[in-house]
Assembly symmetry: C2
Homo-oligomer: 648 residues x 2
């Protein structure tokens, strides 16, 4: 459906730039030459076997442009063998997804002739990135020209150069034509159709496509909640028995949508061939360091790091640190409630203009403190997780997400829990919830879309003006140099982390407290609809193109959402138990009420657990296909043995 | 270490009997001839390719012996190819466990010459059983000579003949020498060492070895509990704060031992090569019926049965039936408590001899009713699970175990829960618990060991007398015919089900209520020690040898024990909350007490969940080995593709 760019070409003639490597303008000549040679050297001699070209070799150096910008491309053959090394899954002739192998390439569906257009540009860029990342020092003791930038066998070169500031950035180029087409089908046309997830995956990779898939799914899943919530809000139903009904609906809904998402994500991941990619074959992440040795699984040479040491780091340093931070966060919250109480009492005793102002001071200070704490904590968490030295990117991400998540959860919800269960003030709870939801949404939209959009437009205009200055008739297509210059200035997309975090917090507001404020679901649906558009826009026009990342599911976020839904069961049961309607059933005994609430809560939790067990995570027909692939691979192992062993 | 029997031999000369097939004495000649031909026919012509011999072809037919007893053996080549078909794991030259293949046989560790003694007799018997079970009808419409015993393509012949009573039994023969050696190391010598699990596995297969491993592990795990429990009992500590301490210890202990067992079971299963056996390749169980078609995974011909139909059967019939039975059980319990209350009040009002007798009547009736209900329910559960027509034996077992387990749990513990939480009578609870534990243990030992032992001795003596009558000088070794006659009369071991069920209930008594009766752990340890001996004895001398069954873990029982440990957390928290010591901390407010109890319980449950997540189920070094095997199999798949595809 989409015309694919010609992926790679023979060296020299028909060089297709895939990835931009930008070194510092004042980088030492020796280091630059050494790196470019490393990149273009053959694999046998320890290089990456790619092709490099300087962007403006002598042409535009008059301006203040950075001369050390290099374009990295690759021959088609190199890309195909890279795809095999990475175990990329492509569609086979029989419609199934299989790991690509060069030897068997003619049996893959879209492989025609010499493989022109077989790999998407995103895949090519992913392969190039992987090859660059796996450039590791062997005998070098330091980066040439930089005595202090020490190297040891197995250390990632790119990583060291980046940490020393010699390498500014590495990013993949956009495909202008393709991007135009994608952005049209994605968000420009007014449409009633779904997002083009397969095309998003084609252009940005599975990780991002799964995020947009989840965003879409989440929005649709919220629609029933929103539809039920509107009449509750309009007709003020919450003052009747139906309030309990709403909380009950909430419970069932949370469990069901999460289970259903697992299945639909597995279906997508199978279609994209990432479901059966094995974790054990993941290469170590670039930041991973250790003593060079042999991987016990693959037998290949790579740095090794003792697992026990990492476990000690996690449990003796990271866990206590996180607990301390959580305690601090709670402490700050308590101080806030105390000072607010004090300010309110002062205002009540002798109301003047200044006491009115004073009542707002604690909230403002608290909001600022929370933001500052979030920021500091985020840096600390990143530092700690990096220091834990995880071998796999996925494991690094999991640990980072868990750390940040826990803290954000406390910061966002601790005050709501306090209001709900300690102060038991439902009116204040509703107010706080509404304020939090609405302000955070407005803030998000501004920070995420409008601000970057405005900055980008200014930058674009400047660039156009400059281009026009040089060549009087503005060219129909932007020249490559200008495209690189433009994209190098764009902000870097830091991954789906913050986007998921936002969804997670929204999910929390809806699932935990929406029975108190039924309009929450409506607000979240509205937010999500605009979020799809603003996220799509920012991916296409605000940020640099990110490297595609294969993913089979939303990873640790699934766990996070499930944990939230368990907390939602507990919270909703408690809210139901505290409602005056339910209390009126037990007029004489509060003990009875609490015991019943606890009993029902336990039954619901048990039911939830059973549901999770009973519903298979992967739909049956996909399980069968996976089992078939595995069966074939085992049969092949037998055959291989048969060919090796002399048959008697 | 153990001398292995010569497994198989060429047809005719050196026939080693492996499995006995006993047909009804009055079975029609046609059917007998047809079955034996089926067994000995080559695989190409739809047979099993095994060798058959009639036990006493014309010799001992004068007596009342059944003439239709056949010995099934097999050629060595047939056994080896059967081992390959079944994917049996054997030790490779490099010490790892790999699926056996004939082509690669010389690379397996114990394969010498033509493979004599490579497969243990248990493995040979397992292979023969599998081949017999997979004898399926093709064009036959009924069993020859039995118009009413209908057959259709894909129906298991053995199964149909068994259900029509034409086939009496199929069982593997004991190895007298080996058995003597095993029973000596296992239970005959007074010893301080552990059970010879590897040898048990060698003789009886992994399923049984895992049971004995679990029994041993469970006993050791209970020792700390018992050690803590004794002083509690002796010094009457339970009336002090330490009662709460004991319940807390209980909590932690349950979680830790179950997690640790998973790891140690994985280690054993890896050593035995069953950890990486894949489920998807399991053959359908003999009782499985359906329309003959092609398995979507393996592409082989086998009966197929729609999954949706089975799901409907489970959810629309089995689940409601189980729920109804549970309700009935609860109803019976309530009736029991009511009548007992009524009898007691009658006795209290006007105590005579007859009212004293009357107070015992409800208990006796209740005990009898429970036994009857258990019996009827067991039959119903087996029928229902068979009717659900599960494709895999494991799936059948899981459904059966869950059904029986739930009902037994209710029957055993419902009255204890009622006493503990509704009547809140701790003295009665302790009494009931002690009575239940002691009587059930005594009953078990009698029913499981002494009774069968006594019956078996009587049978043995009779047999010996008969043998002596025939041959005046008693032979040093029993002749084969006598061995077969003896073993055919032995009871059939119905699997580990009842043994696990017993352990499960004991675990329940200890984990749920032992803080009320600290001696429970001591009693269970004593019981388990004798259980090891009595179970070992009954396996060696009371029952027919069971077919070995590969198993990687204790299956659904792991889940059952974990569920019990979750219930234990809830129960212990509630018991702690109800204790007078804790109550005295909250003298004015019962509500506060309950809220605190519930809060602590939630924290403990969360901790338990996190522990389950954090502790990997399979130890790291075994994970690595498994990943390595998988990696190699994928590499082999690539190579296979390379050999198939024309390299360009």
């Amino acid at each position: 459906m989409l015309k694919q760019p010609s992926a790679g070409g023979d060296d020299g003639s028909g060089f297709t730039p895939l990835v931009v490597v930008e070194l510092a303008p004042d980088a030492k000549e020796e280091a630059v030459v050494w790196l470019t040679r490393k990149i273009s050297d053959s694999e046998q001699s320890g290089g990456a076997g790619l092709s490099v070209q300087q962007l403006w070799s002598g042409t535009a150096e008059t301006e203040k442009d950075n001369p050390n910008v290099f374009l990295v491309g690759s021959s088609r053959q190199r890309l195909l063998s890279g795809a095999e090394d990475l175990g990329l899954f492509k569609e086979f002739n029989d419609g199934s997804m299989r790991a690509f192998t060069c030897a068997n390439r003619d049996n893959f569906k879209d492989f025609k002739g010499d493989g022109d257009g077989f790999l998407s540009m995103a895949e090519c860029q992913y392969i190039v990135k992987h090859e660059l990342d796996s450039l590791r020092a062997k005998s070098e003791t330091h980066i040439p020209g930089y005595e202090k930038a020490k190297l040891y066998p197995g250390k990632s070169i790119i990583r060291r150069m980046q940490s020393k500031g010699i390498l500014v950035q590495v990013f993949p180029l956009h495909e202008t034509e393709e991007l135009k087409r994608l952005s049209f089908t994605w968000y420009k046309k007014v449409k009633l159709s779904l997002q083009p997830l397969d095309e998003i995956r084609h252009y940005y990779g599975e990780g991002l496509a799964l995020y947009f898939g989840f965003l879409e799914y989440f929005t649709f899943a919220l629609v029933p909640m929103a539809l039920v919530g509107v009449p509750y809000y309009l007709f003020d139903w919450e003052s009747y028995d139906k309030y309990v009904l709403f909380a009950g609906f909430n419970l069932v809904w949370c469990t069901v949508i999460l289970e259903a998402w697992k299945r639909s994500s597995a279906t997508m991941a199978y279609r994209w061939g990432t479901l059966s990619r094995k974790k054990a074959f993941e290469e170590p992440r670039p930041g991973f360091h250790g003593v060079l040795g042999f991987n016990p699984v693959t037998g290949r040479e790579e740095p090794l790091y003792p697992n026990t040491k990492r476990l000690l780091q996690v449990y003796l340093v990271s866990v206590p640190f996180v607990v301390l931070c959580l305690y601090l966060s709670l402490y700050v919250m308590m101080v806030y409630f105390l000072t607010e109480g004090w300010a309110l009492s002062l205002h009540a005793a002798e109301p003047t203009f200044w006491t009115t102002v004073l009542t707002f001071v604690p909230s403002v200070i608290y909001a600022v403190v929370i933001e500052v704490m979030n920021l500091i904590y985020r840096y600390a968490a990143e530092f700690l997780t990096g220091w834990e030295n995880h071998r796999l990117e996925s494991s690094y991400q999991n640990h980072l997400v868990l750390k940040v998540l826990l803290f954000n959860f406390f910061n966002c919800f601790a005050s709501l829990f306090y209001i709900a269960f300690v102060m038991q003030d439902m009116v204040l709870l509703r107010q706080s919830l509404a304020t939090l939801l609405i302000t955070s949404q407005i803030l998000n939209q501004v920070m995420e879309a409008f601000l970057p959009y405005w900055l980008q437009r200014r930058r674009n205009k400047k660039m156009m003006r400059r281009a026009r200055k040089r060549a009087s008739p503005p060219p129909a297509e932007m020249p490559l140099a200008d495209q690189v210059r433009l994209e190098a200035d764009m902000s870097t997309y830091l991954g789906t982390f913050d986007d998921y975090l936002e969804l997670f917090l929204l999910f929390g507001y809806v699932s935990l407290f929406s029975c108190v404020y039924p309009l929450a679901a409506v607000l979240v649906v509205l937010n999500n609809v605009t979020e799809v558009y603003s996220d799509a826009f920012k991916m296409c026009h605000v940020f640099k193109r990110p490297f595609s990342e294969p993913a089979a599911n939303i990873g640790v976020w699934q766990l996070a959402f499930e944990a939230m839904s368990v907390i939602a069961v507990v919270t909703n049961c408690a809210l139901i138990g505290m409602s005056p309607q339910v209390k009126s059933y037990f007029p004489e005994s509060e003990t009875q009420l609490i015991l019943w609430t606890a009993a029902i809560e336990h039954v619901l939790l048990a039911l939830k657990l059973i549901l999770t067990f009973v519903i298979p995570d992967v739909p049956k027909h996909i399980q069968t296909k996976l089992a078939r692939l595995e069966f074939e691979s085992l049969e092949a192992l037998k055959k291989k043995k048969m060919l090796e062993a002399p048959v008697q």
